[in-house]
């Protein structure tokens, strides 16, 4: 209860800060607009104002402050402008429309999910192999760990273009990027999880003369679940970033990444911000969903 | 129970914790006087408030009723004038500091000069028999040695009062015997006033001039036994009739507290 209040306070403070930041960020553009509309601005003329600080302009033109929250193409749109844009492009548009964020969100989401499923599946398989084969452990594991320190997302543009040149386009190239971005965290996390049972627990199974497979299903796999979910959450976030970045280099026309890029070409800041928030909401929903599954699963298994 | 001037005086002390299962009487109407140079042990089953009492003396808990003075001051004033050294159940040494660095910690906080710090560290290391280990890190030492270092840390700023909360509880019997012997020697040499929480009857009888028996729900004092044992106590005093008689009285006191509870 107290923490909910604290979170709300912090969020409210952030929103207030955002509104406050809009004023100095947008004041110059706003003054040009209101002056054009016939208002008295001190000092008159954009050239006169060039040398002045934003705060000085605000102090002399207090009347223009509300207008900084209502510009059409502000440098920093106000929270309600983004909220209105989000509402207009989700609830008010048909979802098949090219201007619907639901449509763009789905394009990105489908690539994310496909890639995530492939990446996670392969990641778990490799982790099982690593835990059971000493050669694989020693050969592959160091490279999997090193991969965590490398910005492998830099491969994204190349994958899109190369796959395009061999005739593969649409969802698959983006899914490939999503897959390899989620692959490595899952491998590393899952290996850690499968190794998490301590020596005593393993010795206990040895006293039962349990086979490797029995050890895997009855001890290693259940013990790895908290680690698996932790890496799944990292993996899905990485997958989403992969899908968004995968939409950048080709001049794709659909997807949240395409919306970001188009917005930045045409200076449509409100569109950029709403695409950004759509991506954030999507990420939060995916991570939250995994968190929910985690809680239900772990409770069923008596681990939480 | 005073032969000498009182150092710690508690009068009608009450402490009630508010928990989710309702209020818990950790201490109820506890009165006790500890004289200068006394070695007082607090013994009783878990939940009898012996640790809580010690924490009240150290101003780590606030009593909800009654009064307590340490060196004639409130516990909080005593804490701020650094009147006591506190030894916890675990050594709690900082792993990123050497043994000497750990002993230096309170001295740094209390603003001793660098030269004085060095001198005191050297002195107390000798006092607890850890010369030559000052440069080691805690994780390079055994549990018993770590606990000795934590006692040295409490001794370093030379407070007259030592409050010890089951300091040897986590150690094995053999190490424990050894440390008991050393602690007794140290007490005799320094003449400090020691309040010592334990749940071991032999330990309490072996060390103390006074044994305070406590019982739970609500936490209270049921008996205070003055030890008739001589000042000089070799370890084999524990096999003498006098020792066993005191131990028997403590055990009876604990049992009485227990039956009262049922």
């Amino acid at each position: 209860m107290r923490s909910a209040l604290a979170v709300l306070t912090v969020v409210a403070a952030l929103v207030a800060f955002w509104y406050a930041a809009c004023v100095p960020m947008n004041i110059r553009g706003t003054l040009v607009e209101v002056e054009r509309a016939g208002a008295q601005v001190v000092p008159p003329g954009a050239a006169q104002r060039r040398g002045m600080g934003a705060w000085g302009l605000i102090a002399r033109n207090g009347f223009a402050v509300p207008a900084t929250w209502a510009q059409e193409r502000p440098r920093l749109p106000a929270p309600h402008q983004v909220a209105v844009e989000l509402w207009n492009t989700t609830a008010m548009k048909k979802i098949t429309s090219k201007r619907s964020l639901v449509f763009h969100g789905w394009v990105t989401l489908s690539a994310t999910l496909l890639g995530f499923v492939i990446g996670t599946g392969l990641g778990i398989l490799l982790a099982v192999g690593i835990v059971h084969s000493r050669v694989m452990d020693m050969s592959v594991m160091p490279w999997a760990i090193v991969s965590q320190t490398i910005p492998i997302i830099a491969l994204a543009p190349m994958i899109i273009v190369v796959m395009y040149s061999v005739g593969v386009q649409g969802i698959v190239p983006k899914a490939v990027i999503s897959a390899y971005l989620s692959f490595f965290p899952v491998v590393v996390g899952m290996v850690k999880g499968l190794r998490s049972p301590d020596a005593m627990q393993l010795d206990l199974l040895r006293t039962y003369n349990a086979s490797n497979a029995q050890g895997f299903w009855k001890l290693r796999l259940p013990a790895s679940m908290p680690y698996l979910f932790a890496s799944l959450k990292i993996g899905i976030a990485a997958s989403l970033v992969g899908a968004i970045v995968g939409e950048l280099p080709t001049g794709a026309v659909a997807g949240l990444g395409a919306r970001l890029l188009a917005g930045s070409y045409y200076g449509q800041t409100v569109q950029i911000w709403s695409a950004l928030f759509a991506a954030a909401i999507l990420a939060a929903a995916l991570v939250g969903l995994l968190g929910l599954i985690e809680r239900v699963t772990l409770r069923r298994m008596g681990m939480a | 129970m005073t032969r000498t001037s009182p150092v710690i005086e508690a009068e009608g002390l009450d402490l009630t914790f508010q928990t989710n299962d309702g209020p818990v009487h950790a201490l109820k109407d506890v009165s006790l006087t500890i004289g200068k140079g006394d070695f007082v042990s607090f013994i009783g089953p878990s939940g009898c408030g012996k640790t809580t009492f010690l924490r009240v003396m150290a101003a780590l808990e606030q009593p909800t009723g009654g009064s307590v003075t340490v060196n004639g001051m409130t516990p909080d004033e005593a804490r701020r004038s650094r009147a006591y050294g506190y030894v916890f159940q675990a050594a709690g040494l900082y792993p990123w500091r050497t043994i000497a660095g750990n002993i230096r910690l309170p001295l740094e906080i209390m603003g001793f000069s660098r030269k004085e710090q060095d001198r005191r560290v050297k002195d107390v290391l000798q006092l607890v028999d850890l010369e030559g280990f000052g440069g080691k890190y805690p994780w390079q030492l055994s549990g018993g040695m770590q606990q000795r270092a934590s006692i040295a840390r409490a001794l370093s700023f030379d407070a007259d009062i030592l409050l010890m909360d089951e300091p040897f509880g986590a150690l094995d019997e053999i190490v424990r015997d050894h440390l008991n012997e050393q602690l007794l020697a140290l007490w005799k040499r320094t003449g400090k006033t020691i309040a010592f929480v334990t749940h071991s009857i032999p330990e309490a009888v072996y060390l103390s001039t006074h044994i305070v028996v406590m019982s739970p729900r609500p936490g209270r004092i049921t008996d205070v036994i003055e030890s008739p044992l001589p000042q000089d106590r070799p370890l084999d005093i524990r096999d003498t009739a006098g020792f066993l008689e005191v131990a028997h009285r403590v055990r009876e006191g604990l049992r009485a507290g227990q039956s009262h509870d049922d």
Binding site: D137, S139, T149, A154, G263, A284 | I109, W139
Partner: protein, 281 residues
Amino acid sequence: MILLVAAFLLWAFGWWLNVRLASGPLADSRAVQLLVAAIFGITVLAVWELLVRGLQVPMVILPAPSLIAVRFASSTDVLWADFVQTFLKGALCGYAIGCGAAVLTAILVDRSEFLRLGLLPVGNFVAALPIVGTAPILVMWFGFDWQSKAAVVVVMVFFPMLVNTVAGLRETSQMQRDLMQTYAASYWQGFFKLRLPAAMPFIFNGLKICTTLALIGAIVAEFFGSPIVGMGFRISTSVGQLALDMVWAEIFMAALAGTLFYGAVALIERSVTFWHPSQQG
């Protein structure tokens, strides 16, 4: 055809060698562990080379490692300029500012239980968001040059660092705090002598996570606009020109920078948190 057979044989030989080494008597020594990983890496590279040549894969799909190496060696000046622009200016500046600001914020937050309760969930939430998406906005605000890349990096590293530092500053036991209280230590004495050293493992964990984030932020931000220098710029333009050998050379550069950056932070970590159980394995 011969090359394909050679690739297959080489793979089999490399694997056989590693099986022998991994089940050999010295398998637990550090040298053999490094050797096995190196053999695996070299085998992959050699098989890649042989397959590309054997199947005559066109350069625009996958260049052979030897071609990439030649390109790397012949364009060190370009690569160095890109490295300075993207890593030294963009990533490193942003990393220093972002991590520094996060640690200072964490120290402020730590004084207030209420702020901590409120900021930690928000920080965790933001840390999971696709922050690279702020790149077009920040490029718009700070211009095409490295300042906007540094700004993206600041935003990317701030919250993971904040969350780790706040968690670290809480990482003291009740007993350790009680001890400080028995000494009547002031807030800042307790902070510098107890809580800050105790938080170091967490702070370094955050610093290590952020090394990778910083490079990702700096490179991806360049996809949204940059001057004609920089690793992200080079990758996206070389992809456009189908000069894949250059792309791979640049990726190798990025990998090298990322690994060394991480390694450097890990090295400092080892000397600062030598006392922590995780460093004594």
